[in-house]
Symmetry: C2
Subunit: 155 residues, 2 copies
């Protein structure tokens, strides 16, 4: 079956939630983005953000983490039901990523995906291009991240 049979266009699918503890935030940032407001709670309080918050790249990685967990479960579910799950390939990139608000220590982000468009590949008849909208909101329902991606579907 194809992605477009599984998910209606423009319908938001919740992937799951991820809690960002202070420890998670600091551990990620120490390795990849050691700016004071990501690694030092006291310095963060006096920063533009007003509190310890996650590297934007950590917020992105959280989307990927919840997506992979969701898709593995979906794939297994479809197989169990005797269906043929869509075969997804890699993404070649993203468009228009926005970080709307910081993800603060203690926040829980709920991630989602929305299928926006499916179209034929220009040169390969065995591939479909799926455009997806990837989003995350905090526990107050405030959007914190969004980006659009194009993923390959093998048919």
């Amino acid at each position: 079956m194809r992605m477009a049979e599984l998910y209606a266009l423009n319908e938001k699918v919740v992937l799951g939630s991820l809690h960002f503890s202070a420890e998670d935030i600091v551990r990620y940032a120490r390795q990849f983005d050691p700016q004071p407001f990501h690694v030092d709670a006291e310095a963060a309080r006096h920063s533009l953000f007003g509190g310890l918050c996650a590297s934007g790249w950590h917020t992105c990685a959280g989307w990927m983490k919840t997506f992979v967990a969701f898709w593995s479960a979906e794939y297994a579910r479809l197989k169990r039901e005797g269906l043929t799950p869509p075969e997804l390939g890699p993404s070649s990139g993203f468009r228009d990523l926005r970080w709307f608000k910081p993800v603060f220590a203690g926040d829980t982000i709920t991630y989602s995906v929305t299928l926006l468009d499916v179209r034929e590949h220009r040169s390969r008849t065995d591939r479909i291009l799926c455009t997806i909208l990837c989003e995350g909101s905090n526990q107050h329902g405030e959007p914190v991240i969004r980006f659009e991606s194009t993923v390959l579907e093998f048919v």
Copy 2:
């Protein structure tokens, strides 16, 4: 001093290099992107990619890591020289991220930044918007990643 005084428009500035070992790749992917070609060398050999390769988000995070290290050193250098370094604020997002090639285990990625444009903020006279091009190439000189970002400069 301002970014535009420090860096010429359209001139690529090398930030530094990052080696991606198999261990680094697997450690990152286990936490955020546990797809077989990112966590299992044997499965990766039989995948579309043909070998163990980094999560695209890991490649992004590598840009941030080398940028933060570079900018900290630049900031300290300018201070030592008695100059006032530009004060950079956060980025609100990026545009048109492309992963051109996989980053395989053993690759070393050299990251760079190019100042593309500086313009006044629409409503805040104390802020300038700097558009930057962020890139990475492997040890063969092949581009692996690029994206454009807008960062705030406080004046």
